[in-house]
């Protein structure tokens, strides 16, 4: 077990370097000269050249890349062109908000998705199974920027239960987190249903049933544990979706998180900020993948990395 875990941890090094490299390449491929962006329209050519030299933009690519890695190792993400603040400070104030939102969304997925999946598996092909399955396909098909507005209209404008935007207290988490979780609820419930149905055919379930244990008890005590393993495989993928969708959902709900930071940076052509927000969301995803893989190793000892 331990060598498996170490092996998986070591794999992290090339992945992280790769992610940094790709982010770096992407940012460099974006048209436009950073020095011109900073100096504005009325800068002379000499001014631009001088600033380029000062920022090291005239150096060859690999030198800039190594310098960038060196900066990252020192926790230096540069400073924002627009606000003139250190990027790390911007990130520090935004990052926790995205993570909190993601955690609430995960809670929604586990609870609602789990319950729907179990109900469907208990009575397969019944009326309720059919309806709930229909809803889960619908959940997967909803664009977040639209379902978000529908929820705002219903719960914030007409019913006035929750605030429509921003981050003010606990109730303001519910709408954006629910919007974020809708498609994952659909996916998870379907997966739990199908893997539960498969497991319910196993001999050990029949044994438990013939001993007189009720169907619900069998599911809760015996089947659910095993049905969770396939759900876990898409777990990291789902969080990847959350981190990507944060860009959209945080824009809809005016949520002060990393996703909106990225959009604001893109709109303002604020390159260090674009770079940092993409890099940090991607690295978060890398670590989530690591955690999911490690959990997987612990929960299912049959799995081995080669």
């Amino acid at each position: 077990m331990l060598d498996q875990i170490i092996k998986r941890m070591l794999y992290l090094v090339p992945v992280i370097l790769g992610v940094i490299l790709v982010t770096f390449v992407i940012i460099h491929a974006i048209p436009g000269n950073p020095a011109e962006v900073i100096l504005g329209l009325d800068a002379t050519e000499e001014n631009v050249a001088e600033l380029e030299k000062k920022m090291g933009l005239d150096k060859p690519f690999h030198v800039q890349y190594l310098k960038y890695i060196n900066q990252l190792l020192h926790g230096d993400l540069g400073y924002s062109y627009r606000t003139r603040r250190y990027v790390i400070d911007e990130v520090r104030s935004r990052y926790p908000n995205t993570i909190k939102l993601t955690l609430v969304a995960i809670a929604f997925v586990v609870v609602i998705g789990g319950i729907i999946g179990i109900i469907c598996a208990l009575k397969p092909d019944s009326y309720s199974d059919f309806t709930l399955r229909g809803f889960s396909v619908l959940g997967i098909s909803l664009p977040e920027f639209w379902s978000g507005f529908l929820l705002i209209l219903l719960f914030a404008v007409y019913l006035k239960w929750f605030p429509s935007e921003g981050k003010h207290g606990i109730t303001s988490y519910l709408l954006p987190a629910f919007t974020l979780s809708l498609s994952s609820i659909g996916m998870t419930s379907r997966l739990i249903r199908s893997s539960l149905l498969e497991i319910l055919r196993e001999p050990y379930i029949r044994t438990a049933r013939s001993k007189g244990v009720s169907k619900l008890m069998v599911v809760m005590r015996h089947a659910l544990k095993n049905a969770m393993i396939p759900a876990l495989t898409i777990f990291s993928f789902q969080i990847g979706r959350f981190l990507g969708s944060a860009v959209v959902v945080e824009t809809v709900f005016n949520w002060p998180g990393m996703g909106r930071l990225a959009i604001e940076a893109i709109m303002g052509r604020d390159i260090p900020l674009i770079q940092a927000s993409i890099l940090i969301l991607a690295l978060t995803y890398v670590f989530i993948n690591l955690i999911a893989d490690l959990l997987y190793l612990i929960l299912d000892p049959r799995i081995r990395y080669t």
Binding site: V22, V137, P143, F149, V247, V248, A282
Partner: protein
């Protein structure tokens, strides 16, 4: 033959195909079907609600929303088809090379394919669209990049499992060349999973493309793209919710159609996507 009969019996697939067929029909004959000119402004009738003259109301410039949605089908379908096709072709080619030739080609290609998958999909599309530029072409390229590794992985896995089957070995023993081996013996047996993945990707491509347009990074106004219509409508969410409601319904329906088709095909052909 059994497969064809199953297709007719499968109501999920039927509904999905009908939805997509309607979208294709609208996209082709949009000029005849749309009741109004989708670009024609009528500043005296802005933000009108549902009426006989304008079945889905008018937008902030008095343009007919129904006509704009109908015109938007062609933009959306163009993006989906081109994006899935582009990503599918490149991905399948890489997957074939990796799976069929193995060894170094396999190791190199599959490691390269891991790179885009290390990013959340939406984020990668966002970054790529910044490079290739806004507009339809930008959206097509940005959304196709995430398809490439998925098709490559799928095709590679399928080839690895068919490569050792008897009929492929027999063909090899008969001295077929590489191209024939892949084209005539291996590809026909892996069409089913490719089609399933293509329809699932179709659904995701619309969602990502419309989201990018919604954020102002995709198709720009005045083109009637559904995502950018929602972005324009959000200003009037309370006063005129139909501006947001109907384009979103169009997106949901189209995605729903692709998801139904993907689901049904997966059941019929008994495909397991890992």
């Amino acid at each position: 033959m059994r497969t064809i009969k199953n297709i007719w019996d499968n109501k999920t697939l039927l509904v999905g195909v009908i939805i997509i067929a309607v979208m294709v029909f609208l996209a082709i004959f949009r000029g005849w079907i749309a009741p109004h000119d989708p670009y024609k402004q009528d500043l005296e009738n802005v933000l009108q609600s549902v009426s006989l003259k304008h079945p889905l109301g008018t937008d902030e410039f008095g343009r007919d929303i129904l006509s704009r949605i109908i015109y938007g089908t062609r933009i959306t379908l163009t993006i989906i088809v081109s994006s899935v096709f582009l990503g599918g072709i490149v991905g399948c080619l890489l997957g074939i090379i990796a799976g069929y030739f193995g060894k170094y080609a396999d190791a190199t290609i599959m490691r390269l394919m891991d790179i885009p998958l290390a990013f959340p999909g939406m984020l990668l599309a966002l970054a790529v669209v910044e490079i290739v530029g806004k507009g339809i072409l930008g959206l097509i390229i940005a959304t196709s990049i995430y398809s490439v590794p998925q098709f490559a992985r799928l095709v590679r896995a399928c080839i690895l499992s068919t490569r050792e089957s008897l009929y492929v070995q027999a063909a090899r023993a008969l001295g077929e060349n590489h191209l024939n081996m892949v084209w005539r013996y291996i590809l026909p047996s892996i069409w089913a999973p490719i089609m399933v993945l293509a329809s699932i990707r179709g659904a995701i491509v619309i969602l990502v493309a419309c989201a990018l347009s919604f954020l102002g990074l995709g198709v720009q106004p005045p083109f009637p793209e559904w995502g950018s219509m929602i972005a324009a409508g959000k200003m009037y969410l309370v006063r005129a919710p139909h501006l947001t409601l109907f384009p979103g319904l169009a997106i949901t329906f189209t995605v729903f159609g692709f998801n139904l088709i993907g689901d049904a095909l997966r059941d019929i052909m008994d495909v397991k996507l890992s």
